[in-house]
């Protein structure tokens, strides 16, 4: 359940930024979470629900998580795959030349408020 500490960090980042921007109520927080990031989106949502409780800044806020599948590309032969088909050693040519194109994201994309 490291999602709790991650969500706590997200809210601190947004809080600091909101203070600078003079925003008193946050309506929406947007994040991107890759499938390879060891982060479970439902656990993030649960942590968000608990952590924002009693916090005026986030009382009306919703959390939007864009999930990114693992996408890989072989730089030797051009093979590519996504999601459950993704492998880290090329299944076409066997080369150790597979690059992870997406799936490692864990970002706070932005937020809206007033």
């Amino acid at each position: 359940m490291h999602e709790f500490s991650l969500m706590g960090e997200v809210l601190e980042v947004v809080r600091d930024s909101a203070r600078e921007q003079g925003i008193r109520r946050v309506h929406r927080i947007q994040m991107t979470v890759g499938a390879l990031g060891c982060v479970f989106p439902p656990a993030l949502e649960q942590a968000f629900g608990i952590l924002r409780d009693g916090d005026a800044l986030f009382a009306d806020a919703t959390l939007e998580i864009e999930e990114r599948p693992v996408r890989v590309h072989c730089n030797a032969c051009g093979w590519s795959a996504e999601g459950a088909d993704a492998r880290f050693l090329c299944v076409e040519c066997g080369a150790n030349a597979v690059e992870v194109m997406s799936g490692e994201e864990l970002t706070i994309d932005g937020y809206e408020g007033e």
């Binding site: 991650l6 997200v10 060891c38 880290f88 150790n96 706070i108 809206e112």
Partner: protein, 218 residues
């Protein structure tokens, strides 16, 4: 309504502290490894043997991360390592600020090597950089060869796998090849050293790996 675009990594503040930890260790010429594994893989036993073999030729510090108890810290302290215990109090991983606090309690100038024994867990510690030079994974053969594919992010974040409890391979009816193949499928660059912390087989290769990395750093 104001829209604010941040595009900030969630791990940014942890990573900044990790970079500061790495700088401190580099300045004090301390080589450091972050050891990860599932619970019960034999990390502490490997560490005990390592301390017995390398002390007093090397001065070694250990940061022991555990959810609770000081049992592991007592085990390694008895071996002559400078030891700092971090009880995470339920948290499933160490983070860079916790390690920064522990570094304050160590005499870094006296150390040659620092081993950070992370909380036994193949998921949560993955994303939390601590500032160690290398991440080393312990995989015991009793866990089965399917673990790399089940926990790819952890295996991809480490440069070396110590495949431990090789003395049990005949009992399990498994061979090392299966582990090597499975590891290569998720992290083809990962180096693999088979060891038995019980019999000592293969342990000299691990000590040599440490000596080689330390020599490279100087």
């Amino acid at each position: 309504m104001i829209k604010v675009r941040l595009m900030q990594k969630v791990m940014e503040s942890n990573d900044a502290v990790a970079a500061e930890n790495a700088r401190k260790l580099r300045d004090a010429a301390v080589f450091s490894v972050d050891m990860m594994s599932a619970p019960g893989s034999g990390k502490t036993t490997i560490l005990e043997r390592t301390l017995d073999a390398l002390i007093p030729a090397l001065t070694i510090g250990v940061i022991q991360g555990d959810v609770d108890t000081t049992r592991d810290a007592e085990r390694v302290q008895a071996r002559g390592a400078q030891t700092v215990q971090i009880n995470t109090g339920g948290a499933c991983h160490l983070d860079a600020p916790a390690v920064a606090g522990a570094l304050e309690d160590l005499d870094l100038d006296a150390l040659d090597l620092l081993v950070i024994e992370n909380v036994g867990n193949l998921i949560c510690p993955t994303g939390f950089a601590l500032g160690a030079h290398e991440r080393v994974m312990v995989l015991s053969v009793t866990e089965g060869a399917d673990k790399p594919e089940k926990y790819p992010a952890m295996f991809r974040s480490c440069s070396l796998a110590l495949v431990n409890k090789t003395d049990l391979l005949p009992v399990l009816g498994l061979d090392l090849e299966a582990f090597a193949e499975e590891i290569a499928r998720v992290n083809p660059d990962m180096q693999i050293l088979p060891v038995s912390a019980l019999t000592g087989e293969g342990m000299e290769d691990w000590y040599q790996w440490l000596r080689d990395r330390m020599a490279e750093g100087q």
